[in-house]
Symmetry: C2
Subunit: 423 residues, 2 copies
């Protein structure tokens, strides 16, 4: 079997962790598999390099940042090769340019275009573990580029795709994909499998186990991903096309995104092109807009609300203020004290009862909803940031039960009493 | 003018020093020159990386060491580009593989084979300062290689040679090449110029201002080197072919090498091939031998003495013990408590009086000589290590006068008295 494994920065942070990861790689290799490993930079290396750069130049050139930051992954792969060789496992480390990983797009945000499998296949044929520096490639000018956030995941998926790998395992510091953030929601359950689309919606709703670009690429090339822990030896979550699993839950998870801002543009004229102009000016300046919601007032004007990433809030405000004469709106408000809470599930659209249960949970907790938006497989509400954790717990409890009641002895009895009382 | 400048690790150790070096580069650039800069890894970076590697694997693979260590220079050049850009000087950093610097030979000790000037010339034409990561290249398999000790000097010389640069400036933490180590010999004088051969002999005698390979390459391609300080704005020392300088001194310097061991193989049979076998076994195992000296006793056997690098002393002893049955010698001694002191000068062979003056100095100091060897431009003696500093000072005083007497008022008078007395 040809297996691609990816380990993140915290998994290779020091010599002890490198040794543990080498054991996982070694196990796969000794079982007779061909193993290709993609690594991120060690723990704080990238942050340390960024600090070095900023000390010298607060606005460093992006080409030079790529030149600088790409060394992080190069260090990881060479150290891992040494660790494997110590255990008599033949291994070879390769940079992005050594596997002909070319990118398009700008520096610090390259997109993978091609990978030359020649070198990788030669090394696999000579029975070596191939260690590939994630996150990096070269552009057509022969300059080093990086792939931006989640770049090592994307490298792993792309490598798995071009090699037609049998498995693509993404090792992380969590056990897999959960129905909600397990650090905050005690009853959160590990999902055995999830579809690409659900994973995309969960990721864009703040559950950053995998970066969206890697999931999109996996979907595009049909690469089945397995998200699992590098610390525990347990099966994780499979990300793949929908399967006919009779036990599949309609809802696969509850997610929260605190890093948003709500924008309301008040009393926009109901004439063709006004809304278009509004979103065009944002799009032209790379401000992504989500959860658009327009309410016609019948007075010839309507309010248009949407959310943007919190980091883009100020830019959005400035751009919209500039566009005011042309768009002709009357009021503008930008609020940061909101969160987005979403339920995600492939069967959502076919089960209108799901929305009702979500709103029930929020009503019971007396949480006010300021926006609602939905897609085929996601239903999101924008609520006050201070209510967000409570909202996630309540919604999760509605769909999956509450872990607290099952694990705390005192409440278990109470639950039994209630059940006896027919509640 | 096309200028190649090289700065060592201590010159780029931190942000403040990078800033100072950028000022030197900027001055050359703003004066209208095309500037190519070769940099070493920052201060302790290489040592830190070696420590990281050894923590994981005490005997790391050399290919992987090259992969790991080459990041040091990559960090330096990208940071320097950022610093120059801050001062509005356009700059671009390039790795060894990006200038097609191919090497032959083994990992960690590659030798430069070719450099592709295309990319460098394109960047120079677009008026950029070109920053090249020293010490590194790629081999024919496309793997990263390093050039071993002094590799950044060698890179600079090779780049200057292929670009037909007008000047090749090697910036160091010393002012240039001195007649003796200025930290130890107060009267040491800065040389305005020195020939390639003299520089080679000084370097191999322990004055490691420039590594021999870089000087050899400069000699081969006629690249005039200028060794100068990155901390002081002063002319340094030119390394070039012999010039007709009437003021040229016959002796250009006194050097000392403490890191040697003296090997004496006693009573080797005077038969063909015995000495050959002796040196072959050392050469086959990469033990370099210097100052060979054989004294025939007339008894059919003779003693053969030579020096090796201190690090090779144990290896040499083991190899020679193994070879004893075949060579048939009777005694073996390896001593580390010796130093080699040498005088170097292009006119040495033509001036036998020089040797006499050297021996006079040693006799006056009552220093015992255990070996003598000479080449066209060098005369070396092996003496007890504890006498070495005193020997250098005495010999230097004989040839160049003693700085103490010239700078201390008390002694200046005494000197005058002597002169008056006809001494």
């Amino acid at each position: 079997m040809l297996i691609v494994q990816k380990f993140g920065g915290s998994s290779v942070a020091d010599a002890a962790r490198i040794s543990r990861v080498a054991a996982i790689i070694g196990e796969a290799y000794r079982a007779g598999n061909q193993v290709v490993v993609v690594l991120s930079a060690q723990g704080d290396t990238t942050d340390d390099l960024i600090a070095k750069a900023r000390e010298i130049n607060p606005k460093p050139d992006k080409r030079e940042m790529d030149m600088l930051l790409s060394v992080g992954e190069q260090i990881s792969v060479s150290l891992m090769a040494m660790e494997l060789q110590k255990h008599r496992i033949p291994a070879v480390s390769l940079c992005g340019w050594q596997i002909g990983l070319t990118t398009t797009g700008s520096h610090t945000a390259g997109r993978i275009e091609t990978i030359d499998t020649g070198r990788i296949l030669r090394e696999l044929e000579s029975e070596k573990v191939v260690l590939i520096a994630g996150f990096q490639g070269i552009d057509h000018a022969g300059d080093i580029t990086t792939l931006g956030r989640g770049g090592s995941d994307t490298t792993a998926v792309a490598v798995a795709a071009v090699l037609h790998a049998d498995r693509c395992q993404i090792f992380t510091d969590v056990e897999g994909v959960f129905t909600a953030d397990p650090r905050k929601v005690p009853g959160a359950r590990l999902l055995k499998s999830i579809t690409y689309d659900e994973m995309l919606e969960l990721a864009s709703s703040g559950s950053q186990v995998l970066h969206n670009r890697s999931v999109e690429l996996a979907k595009q090339y049909g690469v089945v991903l397995e998200v699992l822990s590098s610390f525990l030896q347990r099966p994780g979550t499979k990300v793949q096309e929908a399967t006919r699993d009779v036990e599949r839950m309609i809802i696969s998870g509850v997610a929260k995104d605190d890093h948003i801002a709500r924008v309301t543009v008040g009393r926009v004229p109901d004439r063709p092109g006004a809304a278009l102009k509004l979103f065009q000016v944002l799009s032209d300046n790379s401000v992504n807009v989500d959860n658009i919601c327009q309410s016609a007032s019948g007075s010839g004007r309507s309010d248009i609300g949407f959310t943007v990433a919190e980091d883009d809030a100020d830019t959005a405000r400035t751009l919209l203020q500039k566009a005011r004469p042309e768009v002709g709106y009357e009021a503008l408000s930008v609020t940061r004290d909101v969160s987005k809470v979403s339920i995600v599930g492939a069967g959502l659209l076919a089960s209108p009862g799901m929305a009702v249960r979500m709103f029930e949970a929020l009503t019971e907790e007396n949480i006010n909803i300021s926006m609602i938006s939905s897609s085929e497989i996601k239903l999101s509400v924008v609520i006050p940031k201070s209510d967000a954790d409570r909202a996630v717990a309540a919604i999760h409890g509605k769909f999956f039960g509450t872990g607290e009641r099952l694990t705390l002895p005192g409440t278990r009895i109470r639950k039994g009493e209630r059940e006896n009382a027919g509640l």
